[in-house]
C-alpha cells in the first residue's frame, strides 16, 4: 500500500513541466543527482521542485521538496482542513520504509547536544521541516485518520511502524531530537495503545502501553501521566489475560507487580505522587479509581492515607472528613470515624450531609452510651429526607428506632423507658412502611417486639425475615426458635432449629446447636441435650483444628475477650458452688468490671450478698436493682429481690417481685434475645 511502482513511473513526466516556474538552486540540483541512483521515490526528484526559501539549503544534504515531502505536506493540509479521507488518499502513497532508509544518515548524524533534556533548546542546525520528521508526522496523521474513520487495526499498524522506525533510527534511545519529531513520537506513543484497544486486540494494547512507559521515549510529564492513567484504567477494568512486565535488569528490592490490580495500584499511586510534585494537573478520576480498587481489596487505611495526603483546597474539607470517616469505619476504628463525622456535621460546617448523618447514626446505634447522639442524627436525616427521598428517610427511621431502643435500656425511669419503647416501635413501623423489603429492618423489629414481650408480632417478623432472606442468615432462625421457646412451644422451636441446621453449613452451626441443647434442657430431655452439647463440642474442636491462619487467631482472641466476663462469671459460679464465698465475690466483681453491664454477675453478687445477713441487704438490693435497670426481664433478679424484700420485712413488695418472677418465667426464652445482635 505504501509503495506503488506505477506511481513513481508516472510522476516524472508531470513534474517535468513544473520546474519551468521554479527557481533552481544549483547545489540542490547537484545533490538531487547524487541521490538519484537510489531507489524508487528518489526517481521523482529528477524533476523536483526546489523551494524558494533558503532554510532548506542550509541543511548539509539539501533535500528539496520531493515526492514524499509533498505528499506529507499536502496530506497535512487536508487533515487540517478536516478532509480526512482525502488526506488518507494522499498519505497512502508514502513509503515509510524507504523514506526512513533514505533519511537515516541525516538524523543519526546529530550529536546529542546536552545532558539535560530541555525541549526549548532546539538544535538550530535542523529546520522545522526536516523531511524525516515530515514523513513520520505524515504516517502518524495517516494512522490518526484511519482511527477517526474507525479502521483501528490499520491505524494501529501504521502507528506501530512510526515507532518502530524511530526506534531503529535512534538505537540508543531518543536524545535531543527536534521538537516536531518529538511531538510526533509523543502522539504516536499515546495513540498506539488506544488504537489497539479499539480494535479489540487487548494483548497488543497491553504490550504497547508497557512499551510506551518502559522504553525511553523522552515523553513529557503530562503525556506520560495521561498514558499512565489510561493504562491503570485498562488494567483494572478490562479483564485481560495478564502477564508480568519483562524486566531488563533486576534491581534489588524492585517491586514487580504480580497481577493486574497491583500494577494498576502502582500506576495510580505514581500519578498521585507526580501530582504532589507538581508535574501534572489534578484529576479527580485517579482518586476515584483508587477508592474503588482499595475498597474492593478491603484496605481502607491505605486509602485514608492517600486521602489525607491530598493537598488542601482540592476537596472541601467536610467531604474529605466524611470520606475519611467511611474509610476508618471500614477499618473498624469507629471512634475516629465518629470524630471526623462530628467535625463535619457541626452546624458551622456541613450539617446537612445525609450520608454522613446516616453513618454517624449507625455508629451511635451500636453503643448504648451515645444513643442519644444517634437519635439526634437520625432525626436530622428524617427532617432532610422528608420530602425528597423516601428511601433515605426509611434508613433514617431505622437507625432512629435502633438508637431509641438502646436508649430505653439505659434510661433509669420506667416511665421514660416505656415512652421510648413506644417511640422505637413507631419509628421502625414507619420505616417498614416506606421500604418493605429491607430484611435487616424486619429483623430489628422482631427483636424489639420480642424484648417488649409482644411474642406474636415477633413471630411474624421472624418468619418474614426468614422468607426475605431465603433462610440463609442463621440469626433469623435463632430468633424464630427463641420466640417459640418463649411462647413455651418447645416442639415447634425444635423443628425450626432442625430446619435451620439443615440449611446451615457445618462450620456455622455452633450457635444453633447451643439453642437446640437449651431447648432440650427446657423440655427436660437431658440425654438429648447431652447429644446436642456433644455435637457442639465436636464442632468447636474441629474449628480449633482447622483454623491455622493468623487472622483466625486474632478473631479467636477477640472472641475470647468478649467472653471473659462470662468466663469470670463461670469461675465465680464454681467458687460459689464450693462455698468459697470470698473468691466467688472477687470473681464476680472482676466480671462486671470487665463489662459494666454484665447482668448475670450483678445478679449473682446480689444473690450472694442477700444470704450474708441483714447488714448486706441494702447492698444486695442495690446490685439487683441495677441489674433490673439494664435487663428488666431477668427473672432471677426479681426472685432474689423478692427474697431481699422479704428478709427486710416488706412483704407486699416481696409479693410483687415474686409475682413478676413467676410471670417472666412463663415467657422466658431459653436464651436471652440480646444474644442475637
Amino acid at each position: 500500500m505504501a509503495s506503488d511502482p506505477d506511481d513513481g513511473g508516472e510522476m516524472p513526466p508531470a513534474e517535468a513541466t513544473s520546474p519551468a516556474e521554479a527557481v533552481s538552486d544549483p547545489s540542490a540540483e547537484a545533490e538531487a543527482e547524487v541521490t538519484a541512483p537510489e531507489d524508487e521515490p528518489v526517481k521523482a526528484s529528477g524533476g523536483s521542485v526546489v523551494p524558494a526559501a533558503g532554510a532548506e539549503s542550509s541543511h548539509p544534504e539539501g533535500l528539496s521538496l520531493n515526492y514524499e515531502e509533498a505528499r506529507a505536506l499536502l496530506g497535512r493540509l487536508e487533515f487540517q482542513k478536516g478532509n480526512v479521507e482525502v488526506a488518507l488518499r494522499v498519505f497512502d502513497g508514502i513509503d515509510l520504509q524507504a523514506a526512513i532508509q533514505q533519511f537515516q544518515p541525516s538524523l543519526s548524524d546529530k550529536t546529542p547536544s546536552k545532558k539535560g533534556r530541555t525541549k526549548s533548546e532546539l538544535p538550530s542546525s535542523v529546520s522545522q521541516n526536516n523531511p524525516a520528521s515530515l514523513v513520520l508526522e505524515a504516517i502518524y496523521l495517516k494512522s490518526l485518520s484511519l482511527q477517526k474513520l474507525g479502521k483501528s487495526t490499520e491505524a494501529a499498524n501504521q502507528c506501530k511502524s512510526v515507532l518502530d522506525s524511530v526506534e531503529s533510527i535512534f538505537q540508543n534511545g531518543t536524545p535531543d531530537i527536534e521538537q516536531k519529531l518529538q511531538e510526533t513520537v509523543n502522539k504516536s506513543v499515546e495513540l498506539l495503545p488506544e488504537a489497539w484497544k479499539h480494535a479489540g486486540s487487548y494483548q497488543e494494547a497491553l504490550a504497547s502501553y508497557r512499551r510506551a512507559l518502559l522504553s525511553p521515549w523522552n515523553l513529557d510529564d503530562e503525556c506520560r501521566t495521561r498514558i499512565q492513567k489510561r493504562y491503570a484504567s485498562f488494567l483494572l477494568y478490562s479483564n485481560i489475560d495478564w502477564s508480568p512486565p519483562s524486566m531488563a535488569q533486576q534491581v534489588e528490592g524492585c517491586f514487580v507487580p504480580k497481577n493486574n490490580v497491583e500494577e494498576a495500584l502502582l500506576l495510580l499511586m505514581i500519578v498521585l505522587r507526580n501530582w504532589y510534585q507538581g508535574k501534572t494537573h489534578w484529576d479527580p478520576s485517579v482518586m476515584e479509581h483508587l477508592t474503588y480498587a482499595l475498597s474492593l481489596c478491603g484496605e481502607p487505611l491505605v486509602l485514608a492515607k492517600q486521602l489525607e495526603e491530598v493537598l488542601p483546597g482540592i476537596y472541601p474539607r467536610t467531604e474529605r472528613w466524611a470520606t475519611l470517616a467511611l474509610c476508618y469505619y471500614v477499618a473498624g476504628q469507629k471512634d475516629i470515624a465518629l470524630n471526623f463525622l462530628r467535625k463535619s456535621l457541626n452546624k458551622l460546617e456541613n450539617p446537612n450531609d445525609i450520608l454522613a448523618l446516616l453513618l454517624a447514626a449507625k455508629i451511635c446505634s451500636k453503643d448504648h452510651h451515645i444513643s442519644s447522639e444517634g437519635v439526634e442524627y437520625a432525626r436530622r436525616v428524617i427532617a432532610l429526607a422528608e420530602s425528597s427521598d423516601s428511601h433515605l428517610k426509611s434508613v433514617g427511621l431505622h437507625f432512629l428506632g435502633t438508637c431509641l431502643g438502646n436508649k430505653s435500656k439505659v434510661v433509669s425511669s420506667d416511665y421514660q423507658r416505656s415512652l421510648l419503647q413506644t417511640e422505637t416501635l413507631k419509628s421502625l413501623t414507619e420505616s417498614i412502611s416506606l421500604n418493605r423489603y429491607n430484611a435487616d429492618l424486619i429483623f430489628d423489629m422482631g427483636v424489639e417486639y420480642a424484648e417488649q414481650r409482644n411474642m406474636n408480632a415477633a413471630l411474624r417478623c421472624a418468619k418474614e425475615f426468614i422468607e426475605a432472606t431465603g433462610g440463609s442468615v442463621s440469626k433469623g432462625w435463632r430468633l424464630l426458635a427463641l420466640v417459640l421457646s418463649a411462647q413455651q412451644r418447645f416442639l415447634e422451636a425444635e423443628v425450626a432449629t432442625d430446619a435451620a441446621l439443615d440449611e446451615t453449613a457445618k462450620l456455622d452451626q455452633g450457635s444453633l446447636l447451643r439453642v437446640k441443647a437449651k431447648l432440650k434442657v427446657a423440655q427436660s430431655s437431658p440425654m438429648e441435650a447431652v447429644e446436642a452439647y456433644r455435637a457442639l463440642l465436636a464442632l468447636v474442636q474441629a474449628q480449633k483444628n482447622s483454623s491455622a491462619s493468623c487472622k483466625n487467631a486474632i478473631e479467636k482472641a477477640k472472641a475470647l475477650k468478649s467472653y471473659s466476663a462470662a468466663t469470670l462469671h463461670a469461675e465465680g459460679y464454681m467458687h460459689q458452688a464450693r462455698d468459697q464465698t470470698k473468691d466467688a465475690l472477687a470473681a464476680y466483681v472482676n466480671a462486671f468490671s470487665t463489662e459494666l453491664e454484665h447482668v448475670p454477675s450483678k445478679v449473682a453478687i446480689g444473690a450472694m450478698l442477700s444470704k450474708q445477713g441483714p447488714r448486706f441487704l441494702p447492698a444486695a438490693r442495690c446490685f439487683l436493682s441495677d441489674a433490673l435497670r439494664v435487663e428488666p426481664t431477668n427473672r432471677m433478679a426479681w426472685l432474689y429481690l423478692g427474697k431481699v424484700h422479704r428478709s427486710d420485712g416488706r412483704i407486699s413488695d416481696a409479693a410483687d417481685c415474686f409475682q413478676a418472677a413467676v410471670m417472666l418465667e412463663e415467657s422466658d426464652p431459653v436464651e436471652s434475645f440480646s444474644s442475637l445482635s
Binding site: 499536502l74 511531538e183 483494572l236 479483564n239 497481577n259 477508592t291 423516601s390 431465603g470 440463609s472
Partner: protein
Amino acid sequence: MPNDAPPPIHSAKDALDALAGILGGALPGSVAAADDPVAALLSDPDVASAVTGRLRGSGSGAGNDSLCRWLYDAFRSNVPELQLAVLRFVPTLAGVYLCRAVSRKPLAGFEAVLLALYAHAAAQRGAGEAETVSLPNLANPSPYHDAKVPPKAKPAELDVAVLTPPLEPHGTVRATRRARIVGAVLQLYHGKLAHMPLSSKMDFCEFCVAWAGTHSKLDGADKQRLPPAPDAGGGAEKWRRVPLPWELFQPALQIVAHCLLGPTGSDELKAQAARAAECLYWRATETVDARAVLATRSLVRLSQMVEEPIPEPSFSGAIENMAELEAMRANILNSKN
C-alpha cells in the same frame, strides 16, 4: 435423575448435538456450518436467546432439567471452548437461581451446575487459597518509577490485602453458603469477561438491578415507592431482590465495573451498567455498608466523568512551498486514481 441418562459429552460435536436435541430441532445453520461451531455457539444470538429463555422459564432448574444436565456435562467435558460457552450463561443461571432460591424452591438442577463451576473455581485457585494483592509502596523502585533506595536498606515491607477469601469444598448448597458459592462462580465468570459476548453482560446488568431491589434515579423520579407486588398473575416472572452479603456484592460490582469502564465499546451496555451501579449504591446505603458505599459511589462518579482525550495534533509554522504544493496537488490526487 431420569432413567434415560443422556450420553456423556466428550467433544464439541457431542455437545452441539445434545443441545440441538434439548432445544428441539437443529441448531441454526450459522452455528452448525461454522468452522468453529463452539465459538459460534458462544456468540450466536438465536441459540443464546433460546437457552436463556429456557432458563428463565417457569419450572426450570429442577432436578431433572435436561438443559441443566447439558450445562453440567458440557462444563465437565474439559473442552475449554465448551466451558466458555457454559460460562456465557452464568448471569442468567445465577440470576434466576438466586431470585428463586430466596423463595426456597427446589432447584437441584441449577445447584448441580453451580457446584460444578464452584469446584472448578476452587481447583483453579489451588487448594482453596485466598487471592491476595500486595499493596505497592512507592519507597521501593518499580519498573515505572525510580526510588532512592539507601544501599544497605532492605526493601520496605508490603501490606498484603485479601481480594477474595479461600474457597472450601462444598458438596451441597446450604442456604448460609449460597452467597459464597455463587460469588465464587461470578469470580470465575469475571475472569473470562474478555471473551464473553455483549448479550451476556447485558443480562448480568439486568439481573444486578433486580438483585439490588432499588430504583435508579435515572429511571425517573416518583419511582421510589416499593417495587410492584410479586406475582401479579401471568406475565413475566418478577425477579425479586436477594440478600447481598459482601461475598456476592464484590464480584458483582467488579463485573459491573468492567461493563461500565472497560473497553466494551457499547454505549447501551454502559448505560445499563450505570443503572446497575446506581442501584447497587442505593442498596449499599440501605444499611450504610461503608465498604460497599465507597466502592459504588466511586463507580457512579467515574461513570459521569469523561476521560481525557488525546490532544489533537498542532500544526505550527507556515508551509513555505504553498505554490508548488498547490501545483502538485492535482497531480498527486489524480494519480492516485
